[in-house]
């Protein structure tokens, strides 16, 4: 009771805009995870490294005098390069997907340290015209709105581009590759080429998200991507569980699905903020996230198993 009394509802309310903005930024990364995990059927662990790569590249370029918007383009390209490496390890060298991702992720740790010269680099909002910043949220209503419009704009434009892309011939080829490699090859699709392509696109988005997030929190850190894959998966799965029924069978169903991934990321951060507000130990956050993801990944499997048993008895 005493604990409940000590909780300040206003503090929770105040933390919400930050959580919302953070969810939007990580939503971009979750879209990248959606591309590999759901469309390509490839559990890509590169993202833990490529997120920090995007952040490191953006921060170092901004510190070197580049426009923060242009720096994001290079964060995207850096992410694509990381995806390319994982793709080649998997397709050209035959290394299993998960291991290929882990190898790239581990090597990116060193690469990121080299990019930054040390384990973290700050980029102060006082000195640079950052695209978005946590500071803008607390400053005034005007700047707060600017953060939201910017990050919402990023998400909406990305969803629109992805919606278009996966409706093109190339996008179809990626989806066929992810769904049924035998069918794809029989229809003349190079599954290797399209696997690499999808990994590059996915990690490009993750790098972009890293570049934005580094600006948002005012620093890039070599550990900023640790556990990113789990957050991305959580966003994808929360989006599917909460909005899946709403999206199915509609016109533009795919666009709704992509938006639900971003919504999933926002819900994830709101829940995390509530957990922190309840003064649950923050050390346990990652354990908590992992359990959420494990439970929701297990539900569809357990459902089919249960149904299978029912049929066998009937």
């Amino acid at each position: 009771m005493a604990i409940l009394m000590s909780l300040d509802p206003m503090a929770l309310l105040r933390s919400m805009p930050g959580a919302f903005a953070q969810g939007l930024v990580w939503g971009l990364m979750a879209l990248g995870v959606y591309i590999t995990f759901r469309l390509l059927d490839f559990a890509d662990l590169t993202v833990d490294g490529s997120l920090a790569t995007g952040g490191a590249v953006a921060v170092m370029l901004i510190r070197g005098g580049m426009n923060p918007w242009s720096a994001l383009i290079f964060a995207f390209i850096a992410g694509m390069a990381a995806g390319f490496v994982t793709g080649m390890l998997h397709t050209a060298l035959g290394i299993p997907g998960i291991l290929a991702g882990i190898l790239t992720q581990i090597s990116l740790y060193s690469v990121n340290l080299n990019i930054m010269g040390r384990s973290n680099q700050a980029v102060s909002v006082d000195k640079y015209p950052l695209v978005i910043s946590l500071r803008y949220i607390s400053d005034s209503t005007g700047t707060r709105i600017q953060v939201f419009t910017t990050s919402i704009l990023f998400c909406v434009v990305t969803v629109a581009i992805l919606y278009w892309y996966f409706g093109t011939e190339q996008g179809h080829a990626i989806r066929a590759t992810g769904c049924n490699q035998q069918m794809a090859r029989a229809q003349g699709i190079s599954t290797n080429f399209h696997t690499v392509l999808a990994l590059m696109l996915s990690n490009g988005l993750v790098g972009l998200s890293g570049g934005l997030y580094a600006q948002f929190q005012g620093a890039a850190d070599v550990n900023m991507g640790r556990g990113a894959i789990v957050i991305g998966l959580a966003a994808v799965i929360i989006g599917e569980v909460v909005f899946g029924k709403l999206c199915a069978g509609k016109h533009f169903a795919f666009a709704y699905t992509l938006l639900s991934v971003i919504a999933g990321a926002i819900i994830y951060y709101i829940v995390m903020n509530i957990v922190l507000w309840l003064k649950l130990p923050s050390d346990d956050l990652k354990l908590f996230s992992a359990i959420i993801v494990a439970v929701f990944l297990a539900i569809p499997y357990l459902k089919t198993r249960y149904k299978g048993k029912e049929r066998a008895h009937g």
Partner: protein, 267 residues
């Protein structure tokens, strides 16, 4: 008549040098003329499907050559060879992308052998064409263009896979026991569709089957395989007069064994 397929003395050994070593193909030779529709029979492990897979390029062969319509495809990878081929598989799950719609699957097949760029994956004009093609199947699929293929039955999927295989008028159609996983009624329907599609498009085709009656009733040629070789090649008038008993007798004569396959005897 032009030669459409030439298989020239191909060999393939799986897992060489291990306890699982298997000489799957031991010098297969076969030549198909344009418009030939050959049925392929033989016991388990005779090399029927392996021959089709060698033509499709699933793995490199150890020796020999394969020509399709005069082009040497021996060293081409599977997806590059796809431009010459239409393929339907035994498992109805294999031929289509289940998470994609009927029209998307067909649009993917319609771009077989072409480069895939950033234009729309499917156009309005195509949709009308696909609707017309699906209507010829008489399965009610023409009104379900946007349905996911995963929702369809095995027979419906095989019918769509057949349309997809024929959509680019391939030089060679490969049917790998494509009715074996279906119930008898559906199998008959899919066979009927296969016959029609082959005739309408004047396709050259190879059809592997376990069913001797089907092998006799369809196509203008019949080959029998045994231990990775073609041991019998019957065509024209001679094939028309063929009976299941003849085939069993021939098999025993050529191989010195009984045709130990219940499925073939019972059907």
């Amino acid at each position: 008549m032009a030669e459409m397929l030439k298989i020239d003395n191909i060999h393939k050994t799986f897992h060489p040098g291990t306890i699982n070593e298997k000489h799957a193909l031991n010098g297969v030779c076969l030549s198909l003329d344009e418009g030939d529709f050959v049925t392929v029979i033989g016991g388990n492990g005779a090399g029927k499907s392996t021959t089709l897979n060698a033509v499709a390029g699933l793995w490199p062969i150890d020796s020999g050559k394969i020509f399709i319509g005069g082009d040497d495809v021996t060293r081409l990878s599977e997806h590059k060879r796809a431009r010459y081929l239409g393929r339907v598989f035994q498992d109805p799950m294999t031929g289509t992308a289940t998470t994609m719609s009927i029209e998307e699957n067909m649009a993917i097949a319609a771009r077989r052998g072409e480069s895939r760029g950033l234009s729309w994956g499917i156009t309005k004009k195509e949709r009308g064409e696909y609707r017309r093609m699906l209507a010829t199947l008489d399965l009610g699929l023409e009104d379900r263009l946007a349905s996911k293929v995963g929702l369809l039955s095995g027979g419906q999927r095989q019918a769509i896979t057949l349309l997809m295989a024929a959509i680019k008028k391939p030089r060679l159609l490969l049917l790998d026991e494509h009715t074996a996983a279906l119930d008898p009624k559906t199998a008959a329907k899919v066979l009927e569709i296969s016959d029609r599609i082959i005739a309408e498009n004047h396709l050259t085709a190879m059809m592997v089957t376990h069913n001797m009656k089907d092998a006799i009733a369809h196509g203008n040629r019949l080959i029998m395989m045994h231990e990775g070789k073609v041991i019998l090649d019957i065509r024209g008038e001679e094939k028309k007069k063929l009976t299941v008993e003849d085939l069993l007798h021939q098999f025993e004569k050529v191989s010195g064994e009984e045709f130990a396959n219940d499925k073939a005897l019972l059907s």
